[in-house]
Assembly symmetry: C2
Homo-oligomer: 442 residues x 2
């Protein structure tokens, strides 16, 4: 063992965990900043909750898949504690604990890491950032429609133009199953429908009949309903007597209409009666978002309306609606597809050091550039200029500034555009304008 | 037990942990955004590392105080793991693991939570955000001076005008102790000096003589050196033959001079030969920062230069310099002193709903305001206007917008300034300008 000889500890991360180097972290921070900006513009407020909670808070009724994935342990005081596995359970606990201080309706966003000890797959990690927003304390369809607008404006803010938000309302599926006499087979039918993209219509039909125990006719009716040929008009006429279907259709109709008035292009929203997203939790509108150019990564922003957020913690009924952006999954996909930049610096300008005795002046001018909003790094050593320019290239700076005794005598600076390789010489007073011009041109 | 009757789980956080409600979290996010902006403007790049690491990485040589505070446990695969207790050890592991990909010098910032199972005191929590920046891979004093500038510009960015950055250089203390023949008593002497603010000069004198075993003369010389009457000139003349003292003085002299040239007011930097900050780690320049109006919270931005960051993990020597902002401690102090705002919303404008049938129009105009940079929340229900205005007051909105069928017929909007109670009516086309005017006036 190397470490036995050298007494060094091998620097490594745990399986399923990763470091973020500047090239990727710069993009990750940009994604988070965009999300914060969009959420805030809609009046969602930030909150934060502890990474560690009592295990009983996180496991709730227990027995769920997520329980097995918990990083759970005893602390120094023998408390049974665990790392949160999502931001929804902490929100439920938080809302129950602070509801009178918060006041309803309450709109919050929460961007924070969560931990799941699940088997690691490509692009899946045991630690990842969740990026959730929710409106709680109201049943109004206005909040459902706003959720759609937030998802839309978030995707636009992140730089995507080609995407589709698929919407559904669980009231429709519930009503259809009730209409067909399949209410007691809801779970099995929804499980079968979920497999539609994988096993096709015939597979789903077979599963409903063989495993779930529907009749052929019932199964065909279900498939017809969730198929792409279904629209709100056809649902309304086929299930005219069913209040649940009609309510679902009515809320979706209002959603499509208000979203159009609010300026959302109609080709970015699509009815998809087949999406259910989890069997128990959602009770109303459902959202899934697919990037046209990255279909393989699945829905990157999903959510829906729920009847009661915090029933485990309080008798106060808290209905709400929200969605979650799969920020780290999006980042991993962009990384794999080489869609990330190669810059390893947040500053566009590197000020080289040529004459060590003028360090104060280098620092003074760099501060003046920063005050004008131009990020500027000062190279820390008066090494050979070639070395400093090599560093600038490697890190992805766009401009290098050079001044030695000649330039200081004349009160001028050389501005080197690193992409073009061209150099101009300007007076100190012109520096900000010249740099701004070069940066905005490239 | 209540929960036995109602089957409810009591919503609570673990001792030493806390929730952040919007009023505080809005300020916390502003502090973090300011730190990111300042760090980036100096060319520091963001990185991130996992919250969980192998315990051997975090404990290193072991036996330190921090080991006892670790949240440490076995994961599902029986690995001995723990939550990070600072961002310095993860940086050391990170730098050793990725040094060839990073390239030196490397400047990074890292703003992330850390966990310590320490006894909870006022304003101390078991989970808090650390906010670190470091320049590694260079011994140049330029990096030390820049660290001072970053601390200064960070404090200014955070809204403070009255603060002092106290600086020292460990080379001075080391040289003085060597000069006095006390090198083998360094740890004891530094421990005694650290208590100067608590037990006074007589107490420190007594401790050095009685516990550390110095002579009275040696102890008096030490006290004279670390006292406020000491300046760089007097150090230089008193310890003229000592290379370590002279090197420390020379680096500090360059620091004061370059900082002055770079525009830092001289009354914000102060020599304090008594500060040592930890006994082993720092080897050069030392920084502590005190707010004139909040002296009780101690130094809120501290750091220094170190010879070798990652000796536990690599043979490559990585000297560096950096500092850490006590962001959550600052926040807790501001909270206690009622220096935080009372707004619970990031958006200044609440659009009320008066006529439910115009929901699409409310959403459309709200989106137009957001596109102009004006954060706008749409109230989700067409409740009585009084209720909606009450909500606006409570959350701290500054403007309420009102339009019913009359206004829609005329194409106008009522803008209610919630602080003044005044209302003006403007056309839809004038909305952005009128709101911008009202917001910038108040």
């Amino acid at each position: 063992m190397e470490s036995a000889v050298s007494h060094l500890i091998e620097p490594r991360t745990l399986k399923g965990f990763r470091d973020f180097l500047p090239e990727v972290m710069l993009v990750r921070e940009r994604l988070m900043e965009t999300a914060r900006r969009v959420f805030r513009s809609y009046g969602f407020s930030p909150i934060d909750t502890p990474a560690l909670e009592y295990a009983e808070i996180l496991t709730g009724k227990g027995g769920e898949e997520s329980d097995k994935q918990l990083f759970r342990f005893k602390d120094g005081g023998e408390r049974d504690i665990a790392l949160r596995f999502d931001l929804t359970v902490p929100l439920a606990r938080f809302a129950a604990q602070h509801s009178s201080a918060l006041g309803m309706p309450f709109k919050r966003y929460h961007i924070a890491p969560v931990w799941r000890g699940e088997n690691t797959q490509r692009g899946r990690y045991r630690e990842f950032i969740q990026c959730d927003f929710d409106t709680i304390g109201t049943e109004s369809n206005s909040a459902d429609i706003e959720t759609l607008l937030v998802i839309h404006d978030l995707l636009i803010g992140l730089g995507f133009e080609r995407f589709t938000i698929r919407v559904n309302n669980r009231l429709i599926l519930n009503g259809v199953l009730s209409f067909l006499g399949l209410t007691d087979k809801t779970v099995g039918v929804l499980r079968a429908i979920d497999k539609l993209p994988k096993i096709g219509e015939d597979g789903v039909l077979a599963e409903m009949v063989d495993k779930v125990g529907t009749t052929i006719d019932q199964a065909k009716q279900v498939l017809l309903t969730v198929g792409p040929q279904t629209d709100l008009d056809s649902l309304e006429s086929r299930f005219a007597g069913n209040e649940s279907v009609l309510m679902g259709v009515s809320r979706l109709r209002q959603l499509f209409s208000a979203a159009a008035t609010a300026g959302i292009p109609s080709d970015r929203i699509e009815l998809d009666v087949s999406i259910a997203r989890g069997l128990d939790y959602y009770t109303g509108t459902i959202y899934e978002t697919f990037l046209t150019d990255l279909p393989g990564i699945g829905s990157i922003c999903s959510g829906g309306r729920y009847d009661n957020l915090a029933g485990l913690f309080t008798k106060e009924r808290l209905p709400g609606v929200g969605a979650s952006l799969g920020l780290d999954r999006l980042l991993a996909a962009m990384e794999e597809l080489k869609l990330l930049g190669t810059e390893a610096t947040p500053a566009p300008v590197l000020m080289t050091q040529f004459d060590e005795s003028r360090l104060g002046d280098y620092l003074r001018v760099a501060r003046a550039l920063r005050a004008a909003g131009i990020g500027t790094e000062v190279f820390p050593d008066a090494k050979k200029l070639g070395k400093q320019l090599q560093y600038a290239d490697r890190k992805g700076f766009r401009i290098a500034l050079i001044a030695g005794s000649d330039e200081f005598a004349k009160g001028v600076w050389q501005i080197k555009s690193l992409a073009k390789g061209t150099t101009v010489t300007v007076s100190e007073g012109e520096l900000v304008n010249s740099i701004t011009e070069i940066l905005s041109a490239s």
